[in-house]
Subunit: 177 residues, 3 copies
């Protein structure tokens, strides 16, 4: 029986900490599927801080692109798998195109639908951390607008399939469903 938990929220809203807490409710060992790519020092520092917070129950798997396949490969290996985070994965996929366009959005949405299919067949519970990125003014650059639309659509799709959905604000989770 598939079990998916979806957690969204703003930057530094405490969504990862809340997701880790939910994951720990499933026992140990736990899989931490990191979609981040260490491209610069800023990112490295952030990844380091997150790893520090998690304990020895966690095993980190780094996969910036093939999220669905990696989940299938790890199915059964952990009590739960935390994906952190959906929006970095979408960014990685989007940036495979030299110049992102409307086609890119549809191409990445095909990967999102694959992920949905995979989640429905997983035996291991999956906790997905995403970001709320659509509550500011319209982004100035086209890439920003495409990313924002893509993230919004992916969030809708995954929250719809999830058994639980939460919005975290100022560290406090609000149950969406």
């Amino acid at each position: 029986m598939a079990r998916t938990l979806f957690i969204t929220g703003g930057a530094r809203s405490g969504k990862s900490a809340f997701a880790e807490q939910l994951a720990m409710g499933f026992g140990a060992p736990l899989g931490y599927l990191a979609t981040a790519r260490s491209l610069d020092g800023e990112m490295d520092a952030r990844i380091g801080k997150h790893q520090e917070r998690r304990g020895t129950a966690w095993h980190t798997i780094e996969e910036p692109l093939h999220l669905a396949q990696t989940l299938r490969d790890q199915d059964g290996a952990f009590k739960a798998i935390l994906v952190d985070c959906l929006t970095l994965w979408l960014t990685n996929l989007l940036l495979l195109d030299e110049e992102p366009a409307d086609d890119s959005e549809e191409r990445v949405m095909a990967d999102v639908r694959q992920l949905e299919t995979t989640l429905a067949t997983m035996a291991t519970p999956v906790i997905i951390v995403s970001n709320e990125v659509g509550m500011g003014i319209v982004p100035e650059h086209r890439l920003g607008r495409i990313f924002r639309d893509l993230a919004g659509r992916a969030n809708q799709a995954l929250a719809a399939t999830a058994d639980e959905a939460w919005l975290v604000a100022s560290g406090i989770p609000l149950r969406l469903k």
Copy 2:
């Protein structure tokens, strides 16, 4: 008896789909009052996608500026009228000034108050879709800041007069009132 439903949310949060669902609860025919102006291909594509999703119960009226007057003209012609969306209407009004300033904000707020008065006298229920645009960092440009302030004030005013208010996040509606 006036009946106003107010729906806000981020970009691609599923607020239009939720608003359409609420509207369909009133029966048919339904009015779709589009405030968008097709200025470019990006916008055309988005409008096309939205029209595709709506069925034959809907009649589209395009009005980028005279929202209150159009609502009064259409009062009684439909089981409900969906306004999609408030923030595009505000943008259209704001851009009537060559260089938007604090005066522009107050000028547009006068139109918002007219809209409020109209909503209070409508026999046909009106469902208003708006956008949450104030949860990012301070916009770099003055126009962005004016727009953000204006949208925030208009959202407050319309949510206050509405019988129901909803915030949609990741496709899931949260009841505000």
Copy 3:
């Protein structure tokens, strides 16, 4: 017994008006601790509008930097003190560095922790207004990203210590805790 109320929300979401309403529930006189610095006309106009709305029960104290110390100095002088707002205070502290960096974030977080300690020892109830700034796309500039992270962390810390926490959207408060 310390009593802290934390209110967050987007720009022009009605959070200050709601905070003032909560404060007035404590009686009079009330302290209004303004962290804004009048650097330009835009800001002056906004401060003026806010002061107009508040009545004679309120006494304004302006303090852009030494928030914890000022709260301690004013403890017992009012029925409640409203701090408006946290994010302007964070901005003021951040901009003490000519070029903000990761160090700046940690330096300002030390001030946030001091504020937490102070709040725990206050006899006078304190109502803190903050801003939700993390629900847009990643800011283009490094300063924007540092500010966004800082505001997110400070919001988490203060919401965690608060007795009540609220998220205001379109003028309507949602209870977080």
